[in-house]
Amino acid sequence: MTPVQAIIAKELRTAFVSPIVYVVGAVFLLIYGFLAYLYVVNAGSQAVRLMQLQGAAPQLNLNELVFRPTFYSMAIILMLVLPILTMRVFAEERKLRTFELLMTCPIRMNEVIIGKFLALLFLYLGMLALTGIVPLILATYSSFDWNPVLTGYLGLVLMGALFLATGVLASAMTENQVVAAFLSFGFLLLVWLLGLLGSVLGDTPVGNTIAYLSFIDHYDRLVRGLVDSKDLIYYLSGIVLMLFFAHRVLDSQRWK
C-alpha cells in the first residue's frame, strides 16, 4: 500500500466514524430529492395545463423542465454543503497535533494533500452517485435526452472537485474548523458573484475575463450539454492551483 493509499484509507475510515459524513450526506440528498420532486411536480402541472389548452398530451422536455433547474440549484447547495465536508481535513490534524506525526513520517506533503483530496472526492462521488436514482426513475416513466444529463453530472463532478480543493486550502489555513468552513463558503460565494458581475458587464474584454474566472459560466455550458476543453482546463487547473496553495500554506506554517 502506497502512502497516498494509506492516507485515503485512513481518511475514509475516520470520515465514516464521525457523524459529519452521515449528516452532510443526508441533508444533501434530502434537499436534492426535494428539489427534483419540486421540478417534476412543476413539469406535471404544466403538462396538465397544456393538456387543457390543446386537448392532447403534450411532449414535455424534461431536460429543460427538470434537469437543468436541478443542476443549477445544485451549484448553490454544493457551495453550502461541501465546505462542511472539507473543514476538518487539515484544521483538525493541526488542532490535535496529529499533523506533527504526518510531518515527521517519511511521507511528502503533496502525498498527504493528494490523499486527503482524493478521499474527499470519493466521498463526494458517493453522494453524487446516490442522486442518480432521480434520472433512473424518470427514465422508466418517460424519455429524455441523456447527453446533457451526463455532461451535467460531469460538470457537477468538476465543480464539486474545485469546491473541495478550495475547502482543503481553507482548512489548511486555520486550526479552527468553523473558520475553515466559513472561509471556503465565503470565497466560493464571492467567486460565484464574480460571475454575475461578468454577465452584467456583458461582452467586453473585462466582462469576459471576469466571467471566465468564475466557475458558474463553465458549469452552465456543461449543463447545456456542451463539452469544451476550455471548461475542463479551467476546472482542472483551478483544482491544481488550490491544492498547490494548500501545500504552500502548510509548508510556510512550519517556519513560524
Partner: protein, 333 residues
C-alpha cells in the same frame, strides 16, 4: 549519530533556543533536562524535521535535517509532547496507518505490530478506540508508534508523561533495553528519570545549554565545597563554634535536637579522619560521619536558579556561563 551545531530557533521576536550544540553517539541514551519552556520541545522538533532551525545545522545519522528530511525521517521514531493519536481509530488501525505511511510492507507491519503490542503491553486494548483509553494507555500507544518500525534513532519528548509509577518503571526499563542498539534522546523535567535511564545529561535552561555530562560527574563537579554530615551523641552547647574553629571547615549548620551537624569544608580535602579523632578524643560519642554528595536535583536547581530574576536572556546567560566555566574544566577531559 545526532549532531547539533549552533542551532538557534526564533519564533518572531521570541528566541526559543540559542546556539545549542551537542552530539549523541551511536547507542547512547541522552537526557534533555530542563524546566518547562526551556527549549526542549523546539530542539526535538528540529531534530525530527518538523520545523527548520533559524540558524545552525542538525544532522541525524549523517543526514541533514533540512537538506534531506526524508532520509532523516526514515531513520527516526518520534514521540511528540502530546501523543499524536487519531481518537476515532482503534489501536491496531492507528498503528497500521502509521506503519503504512512509514513505508512498511505487510510483512514488516505484521511483525512490528506484534512486537510493539507485546513490549508495551497493549495487546488487551488493541481493538479499542483510542478515544476510550486512559491517559497511560494513550501515551504507550504514542510510544508504540515511535518504535513500530524499529528505527535506529529515537526522539522521545517526555516519554513517561501521564503514566503511573509502575508504568514509568516499565517504560524506563524499555528505554534502557534500547540502549546500545538504538540511539535515544529523551526530554524530561523529572530528574530521577535522567539519572535512572541515561548515560549523559544535557541541562538546558532559557534556550541555552548550561551543563552537559554524566549524571554522577555533574553532581560532583558542581560542588563548591565538600559536605560532611556528623551526628554526635552528647554534643556540648558550643560544638558548632568548635567545629568552625577547626582548620579547613568553612561553615557549620547545626540541628541541635538531633545532634546532627552539616559541615562545609574546603574543596578537595577530606576532613573525616580529623573530625572522627576530634569528636572521639573529646568523648562526645560519634554516631555517624559521612560525606554528602549533591544530588542531580541540587545541581539542576543550582544551574537553573542562577538566571532567575536576572534581566532577559542576553547578559543573564553570559553570567551563568562564566559561573559554570571554571568548574567545567577539570571534568571535561
Amino acid at each position: 549519530m545526532i549532531e547539533v551545531q549552533g542551532v538557534t530557533k526564533r519564533y518572531g521576536d521570541h528566541t526559543a533556543i540559542e546556539r545549542v550544540t551537542f552530539s549523541v553517539a551511536k547507542g547512547e541514551v541522552l537526557a534533555f533536562l530542563g524546566p518547562n519552556g526551556a527549549g526542549k520541545t523546539s530542539t526535538m522538533r528540529i531534530l525530527a524535521c518538523y520545523m527548520p532551525a533559524t540558524e545552525g545545522t542538525a544532522r541525524v545519522a549523517g543526514f541533514d535535517c533540512f537538506e534531506q528530511p526524508l532520509e532523516v525521517k526514515r531513520r527516526i521514531g518520534y514521540l511528540p509532547e502530546n501523543p499524536p493519536l487519531y481518537q476515532e481509530l482503534t489501536v491496531t488501525e492507528y498503528l497500521t496507518f502509521v506503519g503504512r505511511i512509514k513505508g512498511m510492507n505487510a510483512g514488516e507491519l505484521r511483525s512490528g505490530l506484534a512486537r510493539v503490542l507485546e513490549r508495551l503491553a497493549l495487546g488487551s486494548v488493541r481493538r479499542r478506540l483510542i478515544a476510550n483509553l486512559s491517559r497511560g494507555y494513550q501515551q504507550r500507544v504514542g510510544l508504540a508508534q515511535a518504535l513500530l518500525n524499529d528505527p535506529p534513532v529515537l526522539i522521545l519528548d517526555e516519554p513517561t508523561l501521564g503514566l503511573d509509577p509502575k508504568q514509568i518503571i516499565e517504560i524506563r526499563e524499555l528505554i534502557k533495553s534500547l540502549a546500545g542498539s538504538h540511539t535515544v534522546i529523551l526530554s524530561t523535567h523529572i530528574l530521577p528519570e535522567a539519572t535512572a535511564v541515561c548515560q549523559r545529561v544535557v541541562i538546558i535552561h532559557a534556550g541555552r545549554i548550561v551543563a552537559e555530562d554524566t549524571p554522577e560527574q555533574l553532581s560532583s563537579r558542581l560542588r563548591r565545597s565538600e559536605k560532611i554530615s556528623v551526628v554526635v551523641k552528647t554534643p556540648p552547647p558550643d560544638l558548632a563554634d568548635r567545629f568552625r574553629a577547626l582548620p579547613g571547615v568553612l561553615n557549620v549548620f547545626a540541628s541541635t535536637e538531633t545532634g546532627g551537624f552539616l559541615l562545609e569544608c574546603d574543596l578537595g580535602r577530606d576532613l573525616r579522619e580529623e573530625l572522627a579523632r576530634f569528636v572521639v578524643g573529646n568523648g562526645w560519642g560519634l554516631l555517624e560521619l559521612k560525606t554528602v554528595s549533591m544530588t542531580l536535583e541540587d545541581v539542576f536547581l543550582l544551574l537553573t536558579q542562577h538566571e532567575e530574576g536576572m534581566e532577559p536572556r542576553e547578559d543573564g546567560a553570559e553570567e551563568a556561563r562564566q559561573e559554570t566555566a571554571p568548574t567545567q574544566e577539570p571534568s571535561s577531559t
